[in-house]
């Protein structure tokens, strides 16, 4: 038998980890959900959405990038931390233009599912109503930037898995936005193919396949069936390309 694995504590539970794993990765692999949006099991953690913020020894830390260490005492499911997460989700809602009732991703959207899970009832803050034109130039794919939460998953997927660098980020602050790598700046003139990993990873409804909308009726979709927090193992670390757990 191999050595017993080292562990840390998450809300009182012992969580085993493999050295090199971060707190979020180890927690998910052990079936514990910590809310997150910019983390994806097949990519290097990135740490920008801050939804996975936890408290360690009285300090706040980003659990997707915090290396797991023997003996850490991590607080995640506390009212204090969840209130902060709720506020972060509210910030993401008011930053973009999110109209859930008419969105093709409703019921499959991780932003929406996370908001429900955290008990967000209103956006609370004043909306920014940014002007973000859509890019419908590509024959198979629609880009609706209104819903972008700037998680950079498509940027990473295109660069790391597809080897194409179709997406990049430009600007700063509230002017930060997703751009497409082509001379015209349009998706039509980029190297994107409908089979690319980048098309698949969007946690919200920015990158949509055309002509396949509403294949599953709203109400019977993934997060309509079970809350996102009950699906932790689907987000457990896995090598690129390996299929998700059944039912995902």
């Amino acid at each position: 038998m191999s050595e017993p694995r080292p562990t840390f504590q998450l809300d009182g539970a012992e969580v085993p980890f493999t050295p090199g794993q971060t707190v979020l990765q180890a927690a998910l692999a052990a079936g514990h959900h910590i809310p997150h949006l910019c983390y994806h099991p097949e990519f290097k953690p990135h740490g920008s959405c801050k939804l996975c913020t936890v408290k360690v020894g009285g300090w706040h830390a980003t659990s997707c990038t915090l290396p797991a260490k023997e003996g850490l005492v991590v607080e995640s499911e506390t009212e204090e931390v969840n209130a902060e997460r709720r506020m972060l989700v509210q910030l993401l809602f008011v930053e973009g233009n999110h109209f859930c009732p008419s969105c093709e991703m409703s019921g499959r959207c991780k932003l929406q599912a996370t908001a429900y899970d955290l008990g967000m009832t209103t956006p609370r803050f004043d909306h920014f109503f940014p002007d973000r034109p859509v890019d419908a130039s590509h024959p198979e794919i629609l880009l609706d930037f209104n819903r972008c939460i700037l998680c950079e998953l498509c940027v990473r997927a295109s660069a790391e898995v597809d080897g194409k660098q179709v997406f990049a980020l430009a600007g700063r602050g509230m002017g930060k936005h997703l751009v497409v790598n082509s001379d015209s700046g349009l998706l039509r003139d980029s190297q994107l193919a409908a089979t690319d990993k980048a098309v698949e990873v969007c946690p919200v409804g920015v990158i949509l396949r055309k002509r396949v909308g509403f294949a599953i009726p709203v109400g019977q979709r993934r997060f309509d069936e079970r809350p996102i927090s009950a699906q932790a193992l689907d987000y457990a670390p896995r090598p690129p390309g390996r299929p998700k757990a059944p039912g995902a």
Binding site: F167, A168, R172, G173, K176
Partner: protein, 611 residues
């Protein structure tokens, strides 16, 4: 609106501009920012065909090139005026009338802030503090600083521009920036002879046979703490870098002095450049580094040529290059990278990203820069003043250094004093000096508050003026902005809220969205539409930023608001409406357009007062 006609560049002009920049900087993606900057210096802005050429020459996707251009505020994808005028927009500039100057200037030249005049002659705008607070209000014309812009000087600038006098023929006195050294201690009184500190470091290693270790020990024994504001122990940082099994190692000088109200590095780089390079070379000896960078903020572009001359002279003197001071195997050289308008690049890891030619986004830690910094090599990043102090420590010894200051904060500190005082400028004090002492020495009267450390530092009220400048009390990177009783501390805080919203890099959610929400809430209160509820929201958002942000910018962004809310709450409360909650949305105002379209303005076209 008649669109401004963009200048057309023929292929030969574009090719030449791009080739010249690439010849100077090399065909590496890491040089993207420097190449963009250099091409813009030739063309005035960065037209799409220039970007395409740069992308293909450096082998970088065009989207990344556009991403970098849109990140830095001094890079322009759209045509700018022949004369590009940017008013420095720190609170110290506003206190001395920068907004009035800007308005008069714009009216005279027929151009709005943020726009280019119709004839393409002049573009006008504001920019974050340019480091001339002792010369406020200041501005930049085509990157060159013009200090002390009073009404007469603004009129003269307008005359020169309207007469289309080339910048090179402007009266040179317009560009004279005085150093304003008001109090000098060991760093500013005794200029060292070039090579002195390096030879002292080499001699220490020879005396006890430990080589570079002797330098590390001396820095550690001196208990030098980083002068940029964070106060990390310099010796520990250097030692941890020196122990990495990887070479080359890299020494970076953080000359991105972006904290509003700080201008001490302008003095050190301008007048004490040898001391700065001496300290960097000592650091290189200590950690075994062969490559050095100075990251010079774009606002200090005017110091670049003199700095390069100093480097060239030091190479000739054998103080840089191979076999420094005749020591075989001690090779080190320094390259200067110029920033392009981004406050967050003062954060060490964002600075390193920018050195690599990317958008300046702070990195995740671990790994620390000492392990994996520039291009993955072990790297130290220190403040300009820290390197100066390091050179003096090697020259005079740790005991000498520790004899000044307090037990926990050894040595001296340069303060950049500005705002409501008779003698703004640079004051060098041993650590432990009281706020009151600085106020007296600078001729400040009727002071109600001091912002120590700039917007990300502490706002001190009158009951705190006995406190001391030291790492164990008031930590500061050197800014010391004085406010007297004529100032409205709400407006000061509102100004800082705008600053952080403008400078947030946008990487993490709390800072990207939170800083903009805070700015909007402060504007709402300014407009008389605020309520107690908004003050609570500011406090709650402020706490979130402090806890959940990715870097120090976000962590500090709400501090000026929380600090003034605590000490100057009446300045907020007298602006609040009576009810508990006020909407930001003005329903009647939203109907104004409909009224204009229908030509109506009768009572029936207005929403009545709520009963």
């Amino acid at each position: 609106m008649i669109p401004v006609t963009a200048p057309e560049f023929d292929d030969a002009t574009l090719d030449e501009a791009v080739h010249r920049a690439i010849d100077a900087w090399g065909r590496e993606p890491t040089q993207l920012l420097q190449v963009l900057r250099e091409v813009q210096e030739t063309l005035g802005f960065l037209p799409p065909p220039a970007l395409a050429r740069i992308a293909s020459a450096l082998g970088v996707p065009i989207a990344r090139v556009r991403g970098v251009v849109a990140f830095y505020s001094f890079l322009y994808a759209e045509p700018r005026g022949t004369y590009r005028v940017l008013f420095s927009d720190n609170v110290t500039d506003r206190m001395r009338g920068s907004e009035e100057r800007l308005r008069e200037f714009g009216q005279r030249l027929w151009v709005e802030s943020g726009k280019v005049s119709q004839d393409g002659l002049v573009s006008l705008g504001r920019t974050s503090c340019v480091g001339l607070d002792d010369h406020a209000p200041a501005l930049l014309v085509n990157g060159r600083p013009v200090p002390d812009v009073d009404a007469a000087r603004a009129t003269l600038l307008g005359d020169l521009i309207l007469a289309r006098v080339p910048l090179a023929e402007w009266p040179p006195e317009l560009f004279v920036v005085e150093d304003h050294i008001r109090r000098a201690d060991v760093m500013l009184t005794d200029p060292i002879r070039p090579g002195e500190a390096i030879r002292a470091a080499l001699a220490r290693g020879e005396a006890d046979g430990t080589g570079p270790q002797a330098t590390l020990e001396e820095i550690k024994a001196a208990r030098l703490l980083g002068r940029g504001g964070a106060g990390f122990t310099t010796g520990v940082k250097w030692e941890s870098c020196s122990r990495q099994p990887v070479t080359p190692r890299v020494v970076v000088c953080n000359a991105d002095e972006g904290e509003p109200g700080t201008f001490k590095d302008r003095l050190l780089l301008g007048r004490y450049a040898d001391l700065v390079f001496e300290g960097m070379t000592v650091a290189a000896w200590a950690i075994g580094a062969s490559r050095g960078f100075v990251y010079l903020r774009g606002e200090y572009r005017f110091l670049l040529d003199a700095l390069r001359d100093t480097l060239e002279r030091r190479r000739r003197e054998g103080l840089l290059g191979a076999a420094i001071c005749g020591r075989e195997g001690f090779a080190f050289d320094v390259q200067i990278h110029v920033g392009a308008g981004s406050y967050v690049c003062g954060e060490a890891s964002a600075l390193v990203e920018s050195l690599e030619g990317k958008r300046g986004i702070p990195r995740n830690r671990p790994p620390r820069l000492a392990e994996k910094g520039y291009l993955g090599w072990p790297t130290i990043v220190n403040n300009v003043e820290s390197y100066c102090a390091a050179a003096l420590i090697l020259l005079h010894g740790a005991d000498w250094f520790r004899s000044r200051g307090t037990p926990r904060s050894s040595g001296t500190k340069l303060l950049s004093v500005s705002g409501d005082c008779a003698r703004p400028g640079i004051y060098e004090y041993p650590f432990g000096v009281s706020v009151q002492q600085v106020l007296e020495d600078s001729g400040a009267t009727g002071t109600i508050a001091v912002q120590a450390g700039g917007p990300s530092g502490a706002c001190l009220g009158q009951d705190e003026f006995e406190r001391r400048i030291a790492f164990e009390d008031i930590e500061t990177g050197g800014a010391f902005i004085v406010f007297d009783g004529s100032r409205d501390m709400f407006e000061v805080a509102r100004h800082f809220a705008h600053f952080f919203a403008e400078e947030s890099c946008g990487f993490c959610t709390p800072c990207r969205v939170g800083t903009s929400l805070l700015r909007n809430l402060m504007d709402k209160i300014r407009d008389g539409k605020g309520s107690q509820h908004d003050l609570l929201t500011i406090e709650e958002l402020g706490r979130l930023l402090g806890k959940a942000s990715h870097c120090g910018l976000g962590e500090s962004a709400a501090k000026p608001l929380l600090g003034t809310l605590r000490r100057f709450r009446p300045a907020y409360e007298r602006r609040l409406g009576s009810s508990a909650v006020e909407p930001a949305f003005d329903l009647d105002g939203a109907l104004a357009r409909a009224r204009r379209m229908t030509g109506r303005d009768d009572p029936g076209a207005h929403l009545g007062e709520a009963p």
